[in-house]
Assembly symmetry: C2
Homo-oligomer: 352 residues x 2
DNA sequence: CTGAAAGCGCTTACAG
DNA sequence: CTGAAAGCGCTTACAG
């Protein structure tokens, strides 16, 4: 019976009872082998191992966890907009969790489904919930409170300003201060803001950073900056950047520095400006945000802000893992990640 | 007791027993309300509903499924390389599954971890497994066979040629035939192949398509095409495209049409060619693959092949859902998706 | 070193 | 319309 037909797992065996009968041992013994407990005869272990290969038996996770085993599961909510930075954060986090033998449950939060997702996570008895990206602030605040009441740890990545939330985020305000200082040092005093017309907290924080940097030099945001942002939904960020750049050119008032909400808009704008005969960076400087691969493509390459995603996720892990299975910490914790300015050819001294 | 303090869920309640005691009903009754079974007094239903709000009680999914409820879970394996098309397929599929009240378990397959992932899926008693992208062919074949032996349905998206696998994929061979016909009709007879130096089945299929299209006009692949592909690992596809384009220019033998493995390489190449003083499409035509947003960015915009991802996922759903909970179908099924050529300014008639 | 018994949190016949 | 009992597939004391 236990000879050699290892190729076709007998799919009949569905429970440890059947499996134990197949091996000819008590369920208890089998369970102990499966869990690597000490004090088993090598021969017994060998028998069970071989039977697993023969039958392809996989224990039922639902019974395991019902019986008190940790679920070792973390629920991850990600925002609707699957931009490269969000995907990279998700992938990095999942990898780190898996290295610690945690499974992740991943759900995209869309308008109106966040309660359902959280309930699902709770029913799966996740040991923590992580939010990556930007969400409806009220929903998020409510979920954070509910998780707290259930003593389930949570972590909010990227969305700052949520009451009571443990947060890890790029310091977006500082990011823009750093970028502005870079441009101000080059002598720029007039700035085009491209596609910053969003009420999202992440964008507002960045506008604050811009304002702070200007204020530090005695300048006023409203006087130094201008915008021609579209009001329609953006279909393609590249196109949008080009469109806005053109609007500046046509208006006849072209600032010396263009600051875009992201790299795609920046590159679109750069193309728009170059098509209008302006030279980058001799006539205008252009800067993006996120430091995507695409930054290396235009000529000159695009100056951008790197989110340091690996570092963000590293910190996320350091903050999250110690909380799992522990009594909930009383005070919430906010960690900000230092932005990294990657200066390339698209920004330079203002023409005198 | 059941007055009004709805804000603070009493996190103590962790089981239906405790919950039933709280409401003052039998567990059976509570269970029936939770499952929406008929024949309950409205007042009873009301009582339970209110208690749920008061306590925030969420039933334990592990007990539910152990007791025989369907897990309504699908395992999704995605390839390591999280390119935009892969992410879009994943997101679309998960959305469709959720609309049918299926939960998805998502795991990235990395070299050597696929067995572990499949075991995890099996232990979670998934009702099907979906593979998105390209994987080690032997692993994939083995997993497909194992799932079959366990009567668990599966679906392979994108990876054609797996024995016994239910497959939905873009017809990559045809995609290249269509693109080649487009270029051949324009009079092109010399072709640069950019970054097709991969042994992946998806790339080989595309090379076959190129060969077929040439053969149909009495031309021979080896005589019409040339390559300067790098042997190093690619860090940045844009840079790689530019580098390869430069190699062609420096070699002094510049084909009239450049066909790239993807949009990023194509755009990099286009920039490289333009920087060398060649005009697109007057001097050279350039074509990409995937029809990403970035295609609209260069001047002229990039001709590309659209994978019709929504259609792919739609078919995936139509093929997969009917299999769930059904006896396993004997013959495997292969569906190919028609590619869509999106001709833009980067391709044009060959200079006479 | 191995086995029989209890119990995790649910649902589902089966009685009342 | 509601309740007591059995059982899903495991693990963990507790005996032998």
């Amino acid at each position: 019976m236990s000879t050699s037909q290892p190729k076709t797992p007998t799919s009949q065996i569905r429970s440890s009872t059947e499996f134990a009968r197949y091996v000819g041992l008590a369920r208890t013994t089998v369970s102990r082998v499966l869990n690597g407990q000490p004090g088993l005869k090598p021969k017994t272990i060998e028998r069970v191992k071989r039977a697993i290969e023969e039958t392809g038996f996989v224990p039922n996770a639902y019974a395991l966890h019902l019986k008190g085993k940790r679920t070792a599961t973390v629920g991850i909510c990600i925002e609707n907009l699957l931009t490269p930075p969000v995907v990279r954060k998700l992938a990095s986090l999942q990898r780190l969790l898996r290295e610690d033998n945690f499974t992740s449950l991943i759900e995209v939060i869309e308008p109106g489904n966040s309660d359902k997702v959280i309930r699902h996570f709770l029913s799966m008895r996740v040991e923590a919930v992580v939010f990556i990206g930007h969400f409806n602030e009220d929903d998020l605040t409510r979920h954070v409170a509910e998780l707290g009441a259930r003593e389930t740890p949570h972590l909010v990545i990227d969305h700052v300003g949520i009451k009571g939330a443990n947060t890890v985020s790029l310091d977006r305000t500082k990011a823009m201060r750093v970028l502005m200082d870079h441009l101000l040092d080059y002598g720029h005093r007039t700035f085009a803001l491209l596609a910053f017309n969003s009420p999202a907290r992440s964008v507002l924080d960045r506008l604050h950073g811009i304002g702070d940097a200007l204020a530090a030099r005695g300048l006023v945001l409203e006087q130094c900056t201008s915008a021609h942002d579209g009001v329609y939904p953006r279909v393609n960020d590249f196109e949008e950047g080009r469109r806005i750049a053109r609007a500046f050119v046509e208006s006849g008032k072209v600032p010396t520095a263009f600051i875009a909400v992201n790299d795609e808009v920046a590159i679109g704008a750069m193309h728009g400006l170059q098509e209008a005969g302006l030279r980058v960076p001799q006539d205008v400087s252009v800067a993006g945000f996120n430091n995507l691969d695409v930054c290396l493509m235009p000529t000159p390459a695009l100056t951008s802000i790197d989110q340091r995603i690996e570092e963000t996720i590293q910190v996320a892990q350091e903050v999250l893992l110690p909380q799992l299975g522990q009594p909930l910490r009383a005070r919430s914790l906010v960690r900000l990640i230092e932005p990294l300015l990657v200066a390339r050819g698209s920004t330079g001294p203002v023409r005198s």
